[in-house]
């Protein structure tokens, strides 16, 4: 069994992670980590619980430029926040598909990203909104686009001795809209067979975040305007957006099914996203 350490300062947490190296794992909600421990798919020597650290970024901060989510922000807090609900409805839709209420009240948005599951539900909307992560270590902080942060299945830029302290999202541009769609084998608690978040920009550009159709969450965009009501305009745009998807066949779905339904969900998400563009803001 790993040792459990509950530091109260960021410096102590980073020092412990640095000393523990690859054998140390930060712990927030534990919704992935504890499952791994139970099944012995993860066998760390040290768990560094961040929940008692007092000088990490606050869970949720908002200003005119956008929002920042600290490592201890739970999905439960996220989906209840009025500004999140107004600015990032696709993220709320995605977060509400993660586990159950009890799981969401433990699970951390940042840690969900660090877990880097190709099927992570919150990844597609974060990618659509151009999320950036801050990675801290004893050597200082650095930032990266979330799209660069994901390297592969369960692999990220966050290495041994490092900690992602926050995710920041720019405020959506006026006249843009976003939506999330997911396909599962059942309606209640399930992992995505396919997931997609779509964003429509003020100029009609399209951006997608895709889950469970590649070795990592994928992002793709096409410049606007794309006429969503014109099949001749929409179809080639979707072709370009979805070209990055390389799903595999597994216990949750076949490659063929994933490709076909990805296109269906994308079409639906794009239309919903377009319907969410604020007309008043578009006019201004």
């Amino acid at each position: 069994m790993p040792k459990y350490y509950r530091p109260t300062t960021r410096a102590d947490a980073l020092a412990a992670l640095a000393e523990g190296g690859a054998g140390a794992r930060p712990l927030v909600g534990g919704t992935d980590l504890l499952v791994g421990l139970r099944h012995h798919t993860l066998e760390p020597d040290l768990l560094v619980d961040l929940k008692a650290v007092t000088d990490l970024p606050e869970p949720i901060a908002v200003d005119d430029e956008g929002m920042r989510f600290g490592a201890t922000c739970t999905l439960g807090e996220l989906v209840e926040h009025p500004v999140v609900r107004e600015w990032y409805p696709a993220l709320v839709e995605a977060a509400l598909t993660v586990g159950s209420v009890a799981i969401r009240n433990r699970a951390s948005l940042v840690a969900n990203s660090c877990n880097a599951s190709p099927a992570a539900d919150t990844a597609p909307p974060l990618l659509v909104h151009g999320a950036r992560v801050t990675i801290a270590s004893l050597d200082g902080d650095r930032t990266a686009a979330l799209d660069d942060f994901f390297l592969g299945p369960r692999r990220t830029l966050c290495g041994p001795g490092e900690l992602v302290t926050r995710i920041e999202l720019p405020r959506p541009a006026p006249g843009s809209g976003a939506a999330f769609r997911r396909l599962t084998r059942r309606r209640g608690v399930d992992l995505a067979t396919v997931s997609v978040a779509a964003g429509v920009g003020p100029d009609g550009a399209l951006v997608l975040g895709m889950g469970a159709v590649g070795p990592r969450p994928l992002r793709a965009e096409v410049p606007g305007p794309v006429d969503l009501d014109d099949e001749a305009s929409l179809a080639p745009a979707l072709d370009r957006l979805l070209a990055a998807a390389t799903p595999i066949s597994d216990v949750r779905g076949s490659r063929e099914y994933r490709l076909a339904t990805l296109r269906v969900l994308t079409t639906r998400a794009v239309r919903t996203a377009a319907s969410r563009r604020n007309p008043r803001e578009m006019a201004s």
């Binding site: 012995h40 059942r186 309606r187 209640g188």
Partner: protein
């Protein structure tokens, strides 16, 4: 010859039981669940919650394939783990390794040189802590050679297939050179002539997946060696007395030296009927002279119980009027590596493979095919859901050819009350007015009313034979203050059996409901009960409790006469009352007066015994049949294959609702469970016989978000059952034909017929793609 209800009514009359419910009584009311508060609040003690200070913890060692020869087991590293007390392999067991089983004595206590399914333990580690046991289990090195195991029906039935069973298990058997463990054949009528006169013939193949029970409580076992050389065994089993007999037999102990405590199972569904790991844990306890404990993980539970998958080829004929003329079905049940009770599932399920219909010519050929997979066992429905899927789908296939709808074809073929649906020497007759259930389901679904695009409706019926033999014994003690204690060995795994005993005793003895307690789950104090299975307890144990109450009343009358000098001939009893020349006395008051200053109590005994018939293929006539009609309305997303059930109606023929609330909860639970195997549940195996979706992450059962938008449960009551007050068993009905109703609804919505379960989004999508192209 009399029918089962006739016999039951005769027996009831002989006992002087009233035919109707008592006005103002507890029976028939929606009394809240006995023990339900503790179960809801978390106060209930499941086996994992019981404390055994100083107990040793057990961890099991398995190999990562479904079929292998074990060449050697190196336990040195495991033994070196601090806290490890013992590591046991087959070599440490008596030779030959003891075997046990229900239909065949085939299952070794530990794998004996050969692993026959993925998850079969080859060694057990006993340690002071669970961590030590698990670490040591991982340190055991098993040298094995994988064998070409058979993991599907096709592989098991192929010429030259690897034989799953050790030939010594059934040396003289005609099928010894095959993987067919047993077969069953039922036939009646002149099938060639009936086929010749058919105007429409449909022939199709259907499959039903292997599914697991998924009780929320995985379960476990604790074995305690007693000072007198015996064993106390704690296990949340449905059949404590079978476990007692098994342990007694494996270890050569008299029954009174084996005491089984059966804490309430947290769900059983048939999976907790028969012994599995208990003999191993008992052996470890006797060997170490210490308390040995194992609590299973969900994954280990998956590897210890499942329902038989089934492939059915059916050929069915109809006249142009839509009347069935013949039905042929070949059903191959994919059972597992050991027999458990699977041959009986095959035999009893296929007995009703022609459904509750009037068919002049029938031929049913069924086989129980062994594979290197988790041993299949009893599972709610006991073979009926499989054969019902084929029969109901065939009926709809015929209806489509004939231009009839699903309701009309069933109206024309469903047997009337008293009419035979199984003919020949071992005939079976409808023991209820089943048309009432069919019509009620049709009415509740709004059959025939217009539907928007991509919506469809289906209706189906299902039957299941109840118990064909049985024995339940009960004691009821009426104490001097009017409170009562019932001893009834039925395991309460969530069905609420104890609530019924409480209601019956309250009415029969005039006791207040909350002053009746029930003792169960202890073979040392509670009289014998054969089984908690086949929805039998209401009928069997209910009758035994009722008889015990009558016994108490008779004794009260006798002692009252003796104590007061009132001649017994001038006294009489009624439910809850003693009738005296001076008027009515409540039974507790009469008992108090009769007992006098010495106080004491009255002890009544009741027995309900149903002897089987040796010549009957099921071992006897079913005590009753469960009958259900289900109708489903579904909306299909043609682009993704997703199904949205907008309305689901289930109507069961229950005889009498002793507790309407519990009838609805059993019915709803069965309906939702039926949606599991209809929509999403299936065990998927890889090339090595391993379960690919081992665990809750990828084995999907319905959640509350998957429940139909409207779920309506109704009952038909004609007081025509053999149980107390005309009741029947009701716990399985609503899942018997869920698949047939859903499949028909999807076909109605899309025009596409799917014959393989479950109807996952991808399977529906694939079928629609095929139809569109």
């Amino acid at each position: 010859m009399t029918t089962a209800p006739e016999r039951a009514i005769a027996q009831r009359d002989a006992l002087g039981e009233p035919a109707d419910l008592y006005p103002g009584g507890q029976v028939g009311r929606p009394v809240l669940r006995y023990g339900g508060g503790d179960r809801t609040s978390g106060a209930q003690q499941f086996v994992a919650d019981l404390r055994f200070p100083g107990a040793l913890q057990v961890a099991l060692v398995t190999v990562p394939v479904g079929c292998a020869d074990v060449l050697g087991i190196d336990t040195a590293a495991a033994r070196a783990v601090p806290g490890v007390v013992d590591v046991v392999t087959a070599a440490e067991l008596p030779s030959p390794v003891p075997r046990f089983g229900v239909s065949h004595t085939d299952r070794p206590v530990l794998a004996d040189g050969r692993v026959n399914y993925h998850g079969e333990p080859v060694a057990a580690v006993v340690a002071e802590t669970l961590d030590a046991a698990q670490a040591a289990a991982r340190a055991v090195v098993v040298d094995y050679r994988e064998l070409p195991g058979v993991y599907s029906l096709d592989a098991a039935l192929a010429p030259g297939a690897h034989l799953v069973q050790d030939p010594s298990i059934r040396p003289e058997h005609a099928l010894i050179d095959t993987n067919v463990l047993e077969d069953a054949h039922y036939a009646w009528g002149d099938i060639e002539a009936e086929e010749a006169r058919a105007d429409v013939v449909v022939e199709n193949t259907y499959t039903f997946p292997m599914v697991t029970h998924f009780p929320i409580e995985p379960g476990g076992t604790v074995a305690v060696p007693t000072d007198s050389g015996g064993l106390d065994v704690y296990s949340p089993v449905q059949h404590p007395y079978l476990l007692q007999r098994t342990i007694s037999s494996v270890f050569g102990l008299p029954l009174n030296q084996v005491r089984v405590f059966a804490p309430d199972p947290g769900g059983g569904f048939g999976g907790k009927q028969n012994p599995k790991l208990e003999p191993l844990i008992a052996f470890l306890a006797l060997r170490t002279r210490r308390v040995c404990r194992i609590v299973l993980s969900l994954e280990e539970t998956f590897q210890s119980m499942r329902r038989a998958g089934c492939r059915m080829r059916a050929r069915t004929g109809f006249t142009s009027d839509g009347e069935l003329t013949f039905h042929r079905v070949e059903a191959d049940f994919q059972i597992g590596a050991y027999a458990d009770v699977a041959p009986r599932v095959m035999g009893k399920g296929s007995y009703v493979a022609a459904g509750p219909y009037r068919i002049p010519g029938v031929r049913i050929d069924a086989r129980a095919v062994m594979t290197n997979t988790t041993p299949s066992t009893a599972f709610r429905g006991f073979g009926s859901p499989q054969v019902s899927w084929a029969m109901e789908s065939q009926l709809d296939a015929g209806a489509r050819e004939l231009g009839l709808d699903g309701l009309e074809i069933r109206r024309r073929n469903l047997v009337a009350q008293g009419e035979a649906f199984v003919r020949g020497e071992s005939a079976a007759h409808a023991d209820g007015d089943w048309h009432q259930s069919l019509e009620k389901a049709a009415e509740l679904i709004g059959w025939g009313t217009p539907l928007p695009p991509n919506r469809g409706r289906g209706i189906a019926v299902g039957i299941k034979p109840g118990a064909t033999s049985g024995l339940s014994q009960s004691l009821v003690r009426l104490l001097c203050d009017g409170s009562a204690i019932v001893y009834a060995g039925t395991s309460d795994m969530g069905q609420g059996a104890r609530t019924l005993w409480q209601q019956i005793v309250a009415d029969e003895l005039g006791a207040e409901l909350d002053r009746v307690t029930v003792v169960s789950g202890d073979t040392g104090t509670v009289p014998f009960d054969l089984q908690t299975s086949a929805s039998r307890s209401t009928v069997f144990m209910g009758s035994a409790v009722l008889e015990a109450c009558h016994d108490v009343r008779r004794r009260v009358l006798e002692l009252y006469a003796e104590s007061t000098g009132v001649p017994a001939e001038q006294l009489d009893v009624r439910p809850g009352l003693l009738i005296t020349p001076d008027g009515e006395l409540s039974l507790p008051e009469a008992a108090r007066q009769a007992l006098g200053s010495l106080r004491g109590e009255f002890i009544g005994q009741g027995t309900r015994r149903l002897r089987g018939k040796g010549a009957h293929p099921l071992g006897g006539d079913a005590a009753f049949y469960e009958f259900n009609a289900t109708a489903i309305e579904v909306e299909v997303d043609r682009e993704t294959g997703e199904l949205l059930l907008t309305r689901h109606v289930t109507v069961s023929d229950v005889g009498t609702e002793l507790n309407p609330l519990q009838v609805v909860s059993q019915d709803e639970g069965a309906a939702i469970m039926g949606l599991g195997h209809s929509q999403m549940e299936q065990l998927l195996l890889d090339d090595h016989g391993r379960i690919r979706n081992l665990g809750a992450l990828d084995y999907r059962i319905p959640t509350f978000k998957d429940v139909p938008l409207e779920l309506v449960s109704e009952a038909v009551e004609n007081h025509d059952g053999p149980g107390p007050y005309g009741s029947k068993g009701i716990s399985e009905g609503a899942l018997l034909c869920t698949a047939g109703a859903l499949g028909a609804a999807v076909a109605d919505a899309t025009g596409v017929v799917i014959r393989d379960l479950p109807l996952t989004p991808e399977r529906v999508w694939t079928a629609l793609q095929g139809a569109d192209s």
